[in-house]
Subunit: 405 residues, 2 copies
């Protein structure tokens, strides 16, 4: 019985000679980040004959638990990324946190980054994104860069209170966003935000997301536009397709997203978070990676967003984004508020006994209140209405949290 | 940057203290065998928050390429299995090759084997299976144990030539089966077969498969009955549901399979290969693991056979086996006859460009003529007829083999 060599090497141990094309003859895809997006991308890669390599901070990370030979290193460090990239043909990301100057150096070294740093910057710096979208004629909230309280107040004098202060970088799940009710709240928000800008508080009807993929060859595909439901700035539920969405508006949203992907030179997935208002659509945020608003595609679309991202970064022809059921509802499983709550696995027997058709995805993450630790997807059975599909998905998520509704 | 410890340890290195429950609180499932069935089971386990452990002969094996910390060892050795099992809560199999005496010793040690050795024996020894099914009143071909040529000829004198000589153990994909045309062929077949038995050559209309799952609690579910198409004893195509199958006969096949699973105490999946004849159904073979005849369930059923097997061996409530499309066709990708054929991956751009909706599964295996190295699945789109779905699946498989039809 042999003792095999260690596949989980540090980035420094990987050298160019290490690249062994898979038996399927597929290029090696490296994904930066060990979260659930890498985990589910690696899972999708198995079908394509890929063994996705993951650069992760620690061996207990969500993706590190399930991939072959995770590479442990600092995901933001040039040296670690450079060493990791030597064993990869293409490098992509499960987050936007690698500093632009580090990405620029990697690109200069010839590392194939998808999306490339010039495109990715628009998902990294919200002010850069706002400016570029404005140039492109894409509808965005009224906004202004701000340095001090006076500039915030001057903006509010025109746009009206409340205003929204946003950190230019690093925000996610409602972090980096402050709804500022009046002048008294400005200094505190400014101090917390770091480099920031201000925008009008949009009176929205609901939130939508348009998720598209684009390949280096310029092929683009669009998933059906979805409705996203937020709670405290965190996405809790996604309904595909967005209920009662006007047909012209759906086309407008998909066209908008495909146009942004093309104009910015995005390769891979692009998620465009949208506000629907009485006056029309307004772009909120961009993400250039698999996105929570498209987790429903794993079972709900012919090609999942994770396989689609891999196909795009490998410049393979993109897959059909068509729905596999008339209605699909995804509900996030957030870490329970009770710190002594049992593990998610202990809820599985109840979930599965109640609903043999619901689909469960657990990320292997430590439970922490409000943290995204899994998701569930319910697909409409023949003749089932939206209310029933939503109820099934919500019930399953609540049971997993040991907090039945 | 840390250099993490090696997760790919030999079985001897694993000790009981090594068991670290996953962050999801799920039990640890060990799967014996590093083939594509383990690969796809591990892939399905990721969604349940599992990190399936695999005992495999070598690090290049299909499953070893994509799982975290594959354990390298001799899958048939008591010592290696015993060490592997110490780090698992439940042990299951991707083949039937572990000797019964080894399984018995493991069971005596308290290892939780699912299915257990008493059930599994019926998938290991075809003569034991024939006898037991006969006792249960299940229709099987006329058969007889044989020790020498005289006994084969005596059987043929009653049943008529040709007869079929089968090795009791170790056959798969047409191996271990000899169609014996007359007395002159008997000695050669007997010499090749090892311990064997003989059975009548059934005049069949077509082959079907009934795949069911059964949990330790006794819950059973049945997938729709499928038609399997063989070539030279190897399954090349599966059509779900079996076209134009009489409704009563479908119920009969599912009832038969569920009854066998219950009578034999099967835990996990049971695939019952059936001959359809003018006189009715006859059982050909049994397998107690995920099976090629149910690969279509990955996209074609609400719960894939791989997740279903995991749910069954963990005694979780079983998942819905319902179809996700009216017709689903799976075609195996067999290693091309040309030894210089390009890798399967080189065919992907053509396959995906021609058919954005076809689903591809590559196993990462070295190409060898006739070897199962992948499969493709086509699902009927709205209004699409069976002929078109079959053509899409066959075309995709042929392109991957670089042998367009």
């Amino acid at each position: 019985m042999s003792s095999a060599p260690a596949p989980r090497r540090s980035a420094a141990q990987l050298a160019a000679g290490d690249v062994r094309p898979s038996a399927s003859g597929m290029p090696v895809v490296g994904m930066v980040g060990g979260g659930q997006l890498s985990r589910m991308t690696a899972q999708a890669g198995i079908s394509l004959g890929l063994s996705v390599r993951v650069l992760t901070r620690g061996v207990a990370d969500s993706a590190a638990q399930v991939v072959h030979g995770p590479v442990v290193g600092d995901e933001l460090s040039y040296d670690d990324l450079r060493a990791f990239a030597r064993a990869c043909d293409v490098v992509t990301f499960d987050h936007e946190h690698v500093p632009p100057d580090v990405l620029a150096r990697l690109a200069e070294d010839g590392v194939v980054l998808r999306p490339d740093p010039a495109a990715l910057l628009h998902a990294q710096d919200k002010l850069v994104m706002r400016r570029r979208l404005t140039e492109l004629g894409v509808p965005v909230p009224r906004y202004a860069p701000v340095e001090d309280a006076g500039e915030v107040e001057a903006f509010a004098a025109e746009a009206g209170w409340p205003v929204v202060l946003k950190s230019r970088r690093g925000g996610y799940d409602g972090k980096g966003v402050w709804v500022v009710a009046g002048p008294g709240d400005v200094p505190g928000a400014l101090a917390a935000a770091g480099p920031a800008y201000v925008e009008e508080h949009v009176a929205l009807t609901r939130e939508l997301a348009a998720v598209v993929a684009r390949s280096p060859s310029g092929q683009g595909v669009s998933y059906p536009v979805v409705e996203t439901v937020q709670s405290d700035g965190v996405c809790v539920e996604v309904i595909a397709p967005a209920p009662a969405l006007d047909g012209d508006r759906a086309v407008e949203a998909e066209t908008l997203a495909l146009g942004i992907a093309s104009a910015l030179g995005v390769v891979g997935l692009l998620a465009v978070e949208l506000f629907e208002t009485e006056a029309g659509l307004v772009v909120n945020e961009l993400a250039m990676r698999p996105h929570n608003s498209a987790h429903w595609t794993i079972e709900g679309a012919r090609t999942s967003q994770f396989e689609q991202h891999l196909r795009a970064v490998l410049d393979l022809p993109l897959g059909a984004p068509t729905l596999t059921a008339p209605t699909v509802v995804m509900v996030n499983v957030l870490g329970p508020d009770d710190p002594d709550a049992p593990s998610l696995g202990s809820g599985l027997p109840h979930v599965f006994a109640k609903d043999p058709a619901v689909r469960v995805h657990l990320y292997g993450k430590t439970l922490r209140a409000g943290r995204k630790v899994g998701h569930v997807t319910a697909l409409a059975e023949a003749g089932e209405d939206l209310a029933s599909v939503r109820e099934r998905a919500r019930d399953a998520a609540a049971y997993l949290r040991s907090e039945p509704e």
